[in-house]
């Protein structure tokens, strides 16, 4: 049984330009103890989906317009708002993209940790300090004693993200939502952080939702993948089957546009032509149709449903790859 099930989630933003349907009928589920990657380009609704699960969508202008978010037999969207703080942190934790601003600039590391320890476990004094040392040790921070007294601006980006992870893990959540945790970091640090998250996941058995636009990160870290495009799920698969054989043309395009060996001036990196459609007034039919090399007349008319194509994978496409070709 899945830990988290998101059904037909719709989140809209009311802007001056009109209603932006940032997340338009997204469904996915997270199995316990697995890492789900959500990939897609900027503005496809990855982060908004995650914020919707936590019910942290800025309101106004945002609003969750429909759908169900089933967490441990409860629909989070039906819960009174006053009960959400007891789920946030305790059951679902989140880490954010930019570690530079995610820590309160006037608090020391210790004050951040202390607050969580006190609120979550009622720990204070020596016990809290011991637990804080341990937490910093777990995320690989050398010399925790001096780090505890440091202010965020005295730490490097990687350090800060480690602190954020330590904070999120301190709550011992069942699910960790990581919203582009490595995007703001440089490559070597990215690798360390991802490795750390995998390690911690193995040790604690929690589930992780990893939001990223980096397919490399997905390949290295995740078990399952959801590919999103323009507020909808394009494809859902396990990591191996997705990378071995993409079903949705968009996924194929994404994979092909990854930098790889053998690129020359004459044979440059392939890219997906066109741009992401406006979410205020999305095209009818398949949203990827205007950019799709396989699009036919039907695609611009009928919206494809997310259907199971083969075992363990779903795609929202009228003409999925791999059916009519070898």
């Amino acid at each position: 049984m899945p830990l988290l099930e998101v059904h037909d989630l719709r989140t809209v933003f009311h802007t001056e330009a009109g209603t932006v349907r940032a997340v338009d009928g997204v469904s996915f589920s997270v199995e316990p103890g697995r890492i789900l990657g959500i990939v897609g380009e900027s503005g496809c609704g990855k982060s908004v989906s995650a914020l919707s699960v936590m019910r942290l969508v800025p309101d106004p202008p945002g609003r969750i317009a429909g759908g169900r978010i089933i967490w441990k037999d409860r629909d989070l969207l039906q819960l009174p708002p006053r009960q959400m703080p007891s789920i946030r942190g305790r059951e679902i934790s989140m880490i954010f993209q930019d570690p530079m601003t995610s820590l309160n600039p006037v608090f020391t590391v210790w004050r951040h940790l202390r607050e969580v320890l006190w609120k979550r476990f009622g720990l204070k004094g020596e016990a809290a300090r011991k637990r804080a040392f341990q937490a910093l040790g777990e995320v690989g921070i050398p010399d925790p004693e001096s780090r505890l007294a440091a202010y965020p601006h005295e730490l490097s980006g990687g350090m800060k993200q480690r602190i954020m992870i330590a904070l999120a893990l301190l709550c011992e959540p069942d699910l960790l939502i990581a919203d582009e945790p490595t995007t703001a970091l440089d490559v070597t640090i990215q690798k360390q952080i991802l490795f750390l998250m995998r390690e911690l996941q193995k040790r604690t058995g929690m589930a992780i939702v990893l939001i990223t636009h980096n397919l490399g990160v997905v390949a290295e870290t995740c078990d399952d993948v959801v590919v999103m495009y323009a507020g909808k799920v394009a494809e859902e698969a396990t990591v191996h089957s997705l990378f071995r054989r993409p079903t949705h043309p968009y996924t194929k395009g994404l994979l092909e546009s990854l930098p790889h060996k053998g690129l020359t001036r004459e044979k440059p990196l392939p890219m997906i032509e066109g741009t992401v459609p406006s979410l205020v007034d999305p095209p009818t039919g398949c949203r990827f149709a205007p950019r799709c090399f396989r699009a036919e007349e039907r695609c611009t008319r009928e919206e494809p449903e997310l259907l199971t194509k083969t075992v363990g994978r779903k795609a929202a496409c009228h003409f999925p790859l791999g059916e009519d070709e070898p």
């Binding site: 703080p85 989140m94 820590l103 309160n104 020391t108 004050r111 505890l148």
Partner: protein, 353 residues
């Protein structure tokens, strides 16, 4: 032991920079000394002695009433049941082994000290260093007590208005939406109430007192603070650490007052000295107009009012002393305020063109 409680390095840097700005730093030292000293005004300017040693016993009459009989005194008409006259004691005690320790200014601010041969106001002399006013009261003593009232009134008003203004401003900024709009309209209506009329109205109903004036002025003084705190909160709550705090299950009030407030304190700190200036000035103005503290209370506004009465033309010391006192005090506070602002300026070498 872990150094957890050290000050935020940015705050320390600002403090260091403030100390480096000499005019502000010394102004603060002077003003702090004066404020602390004014707490002991009863030991500085008082007609009662600080200590009296009489017939083998020590008396500390500063806050206690002793009649003349206690010290074997009697007045011109032979009675001994009025309050002891401590100023006479030095001569009376000469050669007896008893002694008296008088404050440096042996007059209290309410005491009428004059002879009918030489009606007040009397110009400064060795008895009254700054002269006496039209009722024979010592000007220096009244200045000192007036300073105490002014500065503590200003500090209290600033504190109260900052607390109220911060709470309301932060809630406006954080809750936004309906609460913000409604409270902002209320503030607009409220701030258009003419402050002076309200004070006059209340003054006709009840005798104003320190507490009442503080209350009435606080009714209006908090408004200015909300503007700053509201915008600060709006800005801070958009930062990601607030989202992070929420994602960890922090409640809205916790986020506002524990996470946002420490980040939004800069305008509050830089405004404080200027608020103090405004408060001193407001109290002086009210006293001058006669709607402030009731009559015998020593206050600067009342002293200026008296000095400017047509009957008191030509008695320069009456106007010079309170004017000088106000000017010096306000200049000191302004110097502090201006230095604080400079110390908090993130661009110390910025030039405004």
């Amino acid at each position: 032991m872990f150094g957890f409680f050290r000050l935020d390095p940015i705050t320390r840097k600002r403090l260091r920079r403030f100390r480096g700005i000499k005019r502000g730093w010394y102004a603060l030292l002077i003003l702090l000394t004066a404020t602390v000293l004014s707490l002991f005004a009863n030991f500085i300017a008082n007609s009662r002695a600080i200590a009296v040693y009489y017939e083998g016993r020590l008396y500390f009459p500063t806050f206690v009433y002793y009649d003349m009989a206690t010290f074997g005194q009697e007045d011109d008409w032979g009675f001994d049941d009025s309050e002891a006259d401590y100023r006479r004691m030095r001569e009376e005690f000469a050669g007896t082994g008893n002694w008296v320790l008088m404050p440096p200014i042996p007059f209290d601010p309410y005491e009428n000290d004059f002879t009918y041969a030489d009606p007040p106001p009397n110009p400064p002399d060795s008895r009254h260093l700054l002269g006496t006013d039209s009722q024979g009261r010592d000007v220096l003593a009244r200045l000192i007590y007036g300073f105490r009232i002014s500065i503590f009134f200003a500090l209290s008003l600033t504190l109260v208005s900052q607390i109220i203004g911060t709470i309301i401003g932060c809630l406006q900024g954080y809750l936004a939406a309906t609460f913000d709009i409604l409270s902002q309209r209320f503030i607009e209506i409220w701030s258009s109430l003419p402050f002076l009329y309200v004070v006059i109205l209340i003054g006709t109903l009840v005798t104003p007192s320190f507490g009442l004036l503080l209350f009435v002025m606080s009714l209006f003084a908090w408004i200015g603070i909300t503007y700053y705190m509201r915008t600060e909160t709006y800005r801070e709550k958009a930062r990601e650490y607030c989202l992070a705090a929420r994602s960890m299950g922090a409640s809205p009030f916790r986020i506002v007052f524990k996470h946002i407030l420490p980040n939004a304190l800069t305008p509050l700190v830089t405004l404080t000295p200027f608020q103090i200036v405004a408060a001193i000035f407001a109290l002086t103005a009210l006293d001058y107009l006669g709607y402030g503290l009731p009559a015998p209370t020593p206050s600067w506004g009342e002293m200026i009012d008296q000095a400017l009465q047509p009957a008191n033309r030509g008695y320069l010391w009456l106007s010079l002393s309170p004017f000088a006192a106000i000017t010096i005090t306000l200049t000191l506070v302004t110097l502090i305020g201006e230095s604080v602002r400079e110390a908090f300026d993130p661009k110390p070498y910025a030039r405004y063109r």
